[in-house]
Amino acid sequence: MSKDDEYDYLFKVVLIGDSGVGKSNLLSRFTRNEFNLDSKSTIGVEFATRTIQVDGKTIKAQIWDTAGQERYRAITSAYYRGAVGALLVYDIAKVSSYENVNRWLKELRDHADSNIQIMLVGNKSDLKHLRAVSTEEAKNFAAENGLTFIETSALDSSNVEPAFQKILTEIYRVVSNNALKAGESAGAPKVNAGTTITLNNAVDTSKKPSGGCC
C-alpha cells in the first residue's frame, strides 16, 4: 500500500450538488484522470485523495463525494463537519440543478463550518448545444454570494485541474493567514505530516497523525 503521507497540509473537501451533475466523474478525473459515462450512482459517500503543490507546500486533498439524492442528505451532511472546502456542482444543461444551488448553500450553512471555502462549479461544459444556464448568470450569482466560480467538463477534462487547484490554493491562503494572525504559539501550521487543518483553529492538534479527519 502506498504511504504518501509526506505532506504539509491535509484538507478535507466535499463534493455536493444534485444527482447526476457529474460529481463522481469530476473526482475520478481529478484523482485518477478517469471518466466513466456509466459510472454507478453514489450511495452515501465515497472517498478519494490527491496531493498537489501550492507555493512549494505539499497539500493533500481528502475529497468526499456525496450522493445527490435528497434522501441521503441526513447521511451526507455529517461529512460537512471539518471540511474546509466544498465544490457545489450543477449541470449547465439542467436548469433545476442550478436552481437547487440555493438549497445546497443552505445545507452548507446549516452543517458546515462557517469559514468553509465554496466554489460553484458548472459542469458538463462540453454540452454546448444543450446549455441551459448562462456563464454570466452563474458568475454573477457566485459573486453576489461570495463564491468562486468555474465551468468544467469532467468528460473532456477542461478546467478540472484548475478548479481543484484554485479551491485548494484558496483554502491554503485562508489557513496560512489565520495561522499568521493566530501567531506561532497558538499553533501555526507546522511542516509535519498528518496535520489536519480546520478553519476555526488553524491546527487541529487533537487529531492523530494517520487518522481520518472526520
Binding site: 500500500m1 502506498s2 504511504k3 503521507d5 444527482s19 447526476g20 456509466d38 459510472s39 454507478k40 450512482s41 453514489t42 450511495i43 452515501g44 459517500v45 465515497e46 472517498f47 478519494a48 485523495t49 481528502q62 450522493a67 439524492q69 434522501r71 441521503y72 441526513a74 447521511i75 433545476s96 487529531k207 492523530k208 494517520s210 487518522g211 481520518g212 479527519c213 472526520c214
Partner: protein, 340 residues
Amino acid sequence: MLVSVAELNSKAIRFKKFEALLEQPIVDMDQLKKLSWMGVPEEIRHTVWKLLMGYLPTNSTLREKILAQKRGEYDDYVQQQFSDEGKAGLDQALVHQIHIDILRTNSNIPLYQSTVIQESLERILYIWAIRHPASGYVQGINDLATPFYQVFLQSCVSDDVERTDVSLISKETLNQVEADTYWCLTRLLDGIQDNYTHAQPGIQRQIVRMKELINRIDGQLYAHFQKEGVEFIQFAFRWMNCLLMRELPLKSTIRMWDSYQAEGIEALSEFHLYVCAAFLVKWSAELKKMEFQDIIQFLQAAPTASWGDRDIELLLSEAFMWKALFGSSPQHLKNNNPNQ
C-alpha cells in the same frame, strides 16, 4: 473449467430433489428452504424464488390463478400511470431520478443497455415508489430489482440472458417478467423498508450492530479501525443500502439470494448483517496493515471481480457460523454503551 464426474452427479441428484419437491401438490417449504440454502439450479430458480418470496402459493392448484391475478393487478397499475392520459400526471422529478439511475445500472452487462429493458425497470421502480410514499424511490433500489428481473427473464430465453437478443422476446413475456419482478421486489422491500425512510434508521441500526459484532469476532481489526479513525458508516452504509450488490458481480448476488431467501425473507437483514461481517473479516489481514485512506479506498472497491459461486458459498457459511454463534444469544450483541 473442469468439472468432475462426482460433481456432475451430485448436481444431478440435487436437481432431482428439487424437481420432486416442486411436483408435490403442496410444496414442503421447510424442505425447499433447506435445499435452496445450498444454491438453486438455474433451470428452476425462477419458480423456487417465487415460492420462497411467497409470491407463488405452495398449493400447486392455486398457482395459475394467483399468478394471473397478480399480473393483472400490476397491469392495471401500469395502465393508470403510463397510459396516454395517465402520463401527464407523472411526477417528473421522480421519473428523472429513476431514469438517470437506470441508465447507469449494470452498465457492464449488455441486457441492461436495451431500451426496452430499461423502460420496464423504470416502470417497476416508479410504481413501487408512488405506492410506498413513506420511503419513495431511493438510489440503490434500482440495483435490488435486477436479480429478480434477470432470473425471471432467464427462464424465458435459451441463451445467457445477460447477452440475449431482447427483440426476440415477446411483449407478453416481458410484461409477465416485469409484473413478477415488481411483486417480488415489493416483498423484499417490505422487510427492509426502514432502510429507506428518512435518515435511514434501519441502516444506522445495522451498522451499530455490525460494529459490535466485529468487536467480538475480530477485536484486532476493530481496534485498528478505532486507531485509524475509520467509522463503519464510511464503508458499510452502501453494503446495507444495496445488500452488497455494489461489492459483488451480479451472478454472485443471485447465488447469494438463494440462501437469503432460504433464510426467510423476514430474516433477511439479520442474516445480511452476518454476511457483511464475514465480508469485512475476509480482508482482515490486509486491512490491518493499512492506514485510514487505504482502508476506505480498499473497501470501496473490494477485489471481488473474479468471484464465483464458491467464494460466495464460503462467505455464506462463515456468516451462518457467526449467526449460530452470536445470533441465538442476542444479549451478546446488545449495545450497552451507545457511544462506544
